[in-house]
């Protein structure tokens, strides 16, 4: 959950989460391993460690079948949103608007982005 995210998801762990988020169903290690071994070049042991840590942290759930099937406990949106809020707290005095202002002045946004955002805020309420 956004609020009770006890310990952060680390960079390596995030790669596993991303894979789980991209999938509808729970996945067995075999599948997770196949994908990440290829895309990340990680050894099976590494991947198993990351999964275990995510389970310990409570952000991945394991479901017992023949073999465990893993699925995310938090959604990508929940996590992104939590991480974003965390960034805002730490670097923007808790003001989301300061973050956006910073993006606007600092090549963070393309003209297209800005146009789209203008629309977004127009519709918004």
């Amino acid at each position: 959950m956004s609020e009770n995210l006890a310990s952060k998801i680390t960079d390596s762990e995030l790669e596993v989460m991303k894979l789980l988020w991209r999938t509808e169903d729970a996945l067995p290690v075999t599948v997770i391993r196949e994908k990440l071994q290829e895309s990340k070049g990680w050894e099976p042991a590494t991947i198993k460690t990351l999964i275990s840590r995510l389970v310990s942290k409570g952000v991945v759930r394991q479901e017992k079948r023949n073999v465990y099937y893993y699925s995310p406990v938090i959604t990508e949106k929940e996590y992104s949103s939590w991480a974003t809020k965390d960034l805002i707290t730490r670097l923007y005095n808790g003001k989301a608007r300061d973050l956006i202002a910073s993006l606007v002045n600092s090549e963070g946004l393309s003209q297209d982005d800005i146009a789209e955002l203008r629309d977004m805020f127009k519709v918004e309420e």
Copy 2:
């Protein structure tokens, strides 16, 4: 600098940076120590370690006088901006606009914020 930020500034180190950013002039350890000892409850040794690490990382510069005076090499804006971009890369597929969209839908922004942002984008270009 935004780009060549080799190693990240950690949470504890960030507290030191914030103090330096808030000050015009370079500061001697004495001053840094006074402020952080009080606000953070850190031992002098801890503060000295943090400063050293920041110097090693190249984000704080030391200037020799009787005693070293310390000042930031990167500005707060540069760092915030870098950290924000990093977040966008890691969690929003590199699309700043997705971050903002996420803020808009998810109690991240107050009505006031939204009103202000609407103005911001109106003026913008």
